[in-house]
Amino acid sequence: MTQIANDDVFQTLPASPTTTDSASRQPLLQIRDLEVGFQTQHGLVPAVRGVSLTLYEGQTLAIVGESGSGKTTTAQAIINLLAGTGKVTAGEILFEGRDLTKLSAKEIQDVRGRLIGYVPQDPMSNLNPVWNIGYQVEEAIKANNVAQGKREVRKRTIEVLQEAGLSDAADRLKQYPHQFSGGMRQRVLIGIGLSARPRLLIADEPTSALDVTVQRQILDHLGTLTRDYGTSVLFITHDLGLAAERAEQLVVMYKGKVVESGPSREILANPRHPYTQRLVAAAPSLASRRIQAKKNPQADAEKIYSEGSLDTGLIARATKRENAAPDRDLISVQGVTKVYRIRKGGFRSDELLAVNDVSFGVKKGTTTAIVGESGSGKSTVAKLILQLEGITKGRIEFDGQDVAGLKGAELLKFRRRVQPVFQDPYGSLDPQYNVGNTIAEPLLAHKVGTARERQARVLELLDQVSLPSSTRFRYPSELSGGQRQRIAVARALALKPDVLVLDEAVSALDVLVQGQILNLLTELQAELDLTYLFITHDLAVVRLVADNVCVMKKGQIVEAATTDEVFDNPRELYTQELLSAIPGGNFEFGR
């Protein structure tokens, strides 16, 4: 990308318009005491409670907060995109001096797109699957009278898409969203948002669904475009590092209220509000001190050993583990290859090499992370090890036994010892099953114990994942994402496995919850002597939990070493790219 050189400037020279000179500038957007509520059967539920913020021309302001903090609702209230029963109940939103909350439907329609552009969160669901890309961009251009006449509109459409970084736009206008990658779709959405050269662009988590390297490219590009056009940006994100890197001003929201606001670096270096302090502390970052202490449980363990404060059972177990063949790999993957056949109409098919000659070993009681972008084959490796997919070539050994040919009772036995936890805590729990049944299900499937014993085990597991025992009567829809992921972990632990395969197990969670789950996993590992295979795209998380790292790219392992080596001396260019793409990665957070 050519603009990366520019954007380094953008990153290292932030916050030029600070509070001092913004006083001389006109505020473009002023939100005063905004309150938004959603009408439910139990009355009005407030989502935004008295939010005020000011955005000056040409400025970038980020609203940071966890899900449910009201940040998206605030952004949507500006151009009245509130879902369902949402309604502004008090306060005003002044845009160029006009109160947007008082505009008629026709007037706000005129503001949307033309004066205020919007880039939504999820590129997968925000383009209409049944219309081609060209049509969806043209539509925006026509609606805002940017160009007249068929030819002019077409020309402008191509321009807009090229500006957004789709160099082959002219050839791809007739293609449909599903033929574009996530990053490409997000570029289309950015193109649509900026097509009418709006004064303000609302970017609602524009990259949270994308890989870090793609995220970086897209945000760099967005930064360049908005700077060139002098567009103000209201940036919504849950990622503190990202916000700090991209915005001059920060507004931290918590439970519908603004808890802290000011220049980004000031807030991060010196967070005053307790919530901000927690956010800053939990943000996984490469340079943070907390990680340095955290990533070395061995040292802690030794200290505890010497002080004799750990209970003797654990010590005995640890000693036993060290004595019992410490050099043998519990999981050994040897030259494994997986080829998928992709049907291409009729009887033809293409071969897709998803995993190419991958070898690595995992020792008992350790955590190995497999890192890579989407499409790198990391999840396929997980599926192969779990025996959910057959391998094409190579050999996978578990505890000295080849797992490829396992059938019937042998396979069940293997499954008892190797359990998965998946990414989506919303999709991996059956909504019709209460928590107790969900956790007990593996026990039932493997015919372990009597009903009473299973009940006792459920209680024990809930306790292990720090949930109250009453949780067993509740249903997934009544629980938060973090609680659901705890239940997924409890279910995986039900059969007392040796290995947990965690496929992006914390990726869908907010940073604070993510921290809690990672802590839980670390504690459980020490307590139960578990072996983890940790599949993730998030290198910052890797540093928190992993002992060894395998970096995957296009089906191959390009680098494999201990976590320290990978982070301190990445050998491969690709690993270096991944590391440098972590938002706020080189940021010294105040703690």
């Binding site: 151009i79 995109l81 879902a83 369902g84 439907a105 329609q109 005129d110 503001v111 949307r112 797109g113 033309r114 552009g117 919007y118 939504p120 969160q121 999820d122 669901s125 925000n126 383009l127 209409n128 699957p129 049944v130 219309w131 081609n132 539509e139 925006a140 609606a143 805002n144 449909y176 599903h178 033929q179 959405l189 649509i192 948002g193 009418a196 109409g345 009729g346």
Partner: protein
């Protein structure tokens, strides 16, 4: 697209033969001797019986009988009814009537159903929506013959707007009332289907994005909500086209229409093998073609399907 259509047409072949053989098998393995049925109370001489058995291949295995029947079928010889009328002639009079009736019903249920469903979906929870739901529930739960008799009585007898029975030629204007009756249940389903689909799509992310582009409400609704909502409706219509062609027995009975449903019903009761099998063979073709049409429409409405196959 062309390849896809061709492939689907090829798939019709085994379906056609499988279905017709099954029907053939079931009809001719029904209890009862066809020769006895043919002669009624009289008893033909053993020589005549043997001759007839040979003529109709009744002395051969069922598969061979089926083969000979199929050869005749493709040569246009569909056999004769017991009254000596060629089956092809019966078909030529029954199918056009039913086709007209089914088309009228289909047009009515598609347009009115989608329109009412769309408005209900857009005004979810309002009066129009609530009434649409109540009416559709009523139409679904009340049997067709009740609806038929009520409409016949109100419009035919009391108001005198329509004829209570349809004349032999069955012109279009006389078929309007029967078509409404025939369409009523499907209309109710389409209202509900469209309503659910529309209200789902209204909350879709891409609809919000479309609004954020600055599009007007009518444009958002027609371009981004309606087209996406039509996919399930089209599926339903395709299946329904088949059942409208076949399942009009009740409606045809009420309005005394000489259509396919009534003819097949009578043929089954009389045990007229050739008539039943021939009618059903044609119905199978119609069903399969309707399904193909649905799949093509599907692909036209949703490009993801176009490229996935």
């Amino acid at each position: 697209m062309l390849w896809y259509t061709g492939k689907r047409l090829l798939q019709m072949i085994p379906v056609f033969f499988g279905a017709t053989f099954l029907i053939y098998f079931m009809v001719f393995s029904l209890p009862g001797d066809p020769i006895a049925a043919l002669y009624g109370d009289r008893t033909p001489s053993p020589g005549v019986i043997a001759q007839i058995r040979a003529q109709y291949y009744l002395d051969q295995p069922l598969l061979v009988q089926y083969f000979h029947y199929m050869v005749g079928f493709f040569q246009g010889d569909l056999g004769t009814t017991y009254s000596g009328r060629p089956v092809s002639e019966v078909m030529a009079s029954a199918f056009p009537v039913t086709a007209r009736l089914a088309m009228l019903a289909l047009i009515f249920e598609a347009f009115a159903g989608v329109l009412v469903g769309l408005i209900a979906g857009l005004r979810k929870g309002k009066l129009f929506d609530a009434s649409a739901l109540v009416v559709s529930l009523l139409l679904i739960s009340v049997p067709t013959f009740v609806i038929g008799f009520v409409l016949q009585f109100v419009f035919g007898v009391q108001l005198g707007w329509a004829r209570t029975t349809v004349s032999g030629e069955a012109p279009l204007n006389e078929l309007i009332l029967p078509a409404l009756v025939l369409a009523s249940v499907s209309f109710a389903y389409i209202v509900r289907l469209t309503r659910a689909s529309v209200s789902d799509n209204l909350n879709a992310d891409f609809v919000r994005t479309a609004t954020a582009k600055g599009l007007s409400r009518p444009r958002v609704v027609t371009v981004h909500v309606l087209r996406n909502s039509l996919v399930p409706v089209v599926t339903f219509l395709g299946v329904d086209l088949g059942s409208l062609m076949v399942g009009a027995i009740v409606t045809e009975g009420i309005f005394n229409i000489n259509g396919v449903g009534g003819t097949v019903y009578k043929a089954i009761k009389l045990g007229e093998g050739p008539t039943v099998v021939s009618f059903i063979a044609v119905m199978v073709v119609i069903f399969v073609l309707a399904n193909l049409l649905v799949d093509l429409l599907y692909a036209a409405l949703d490009p993801r399907i176009r490229y996935a196959k």
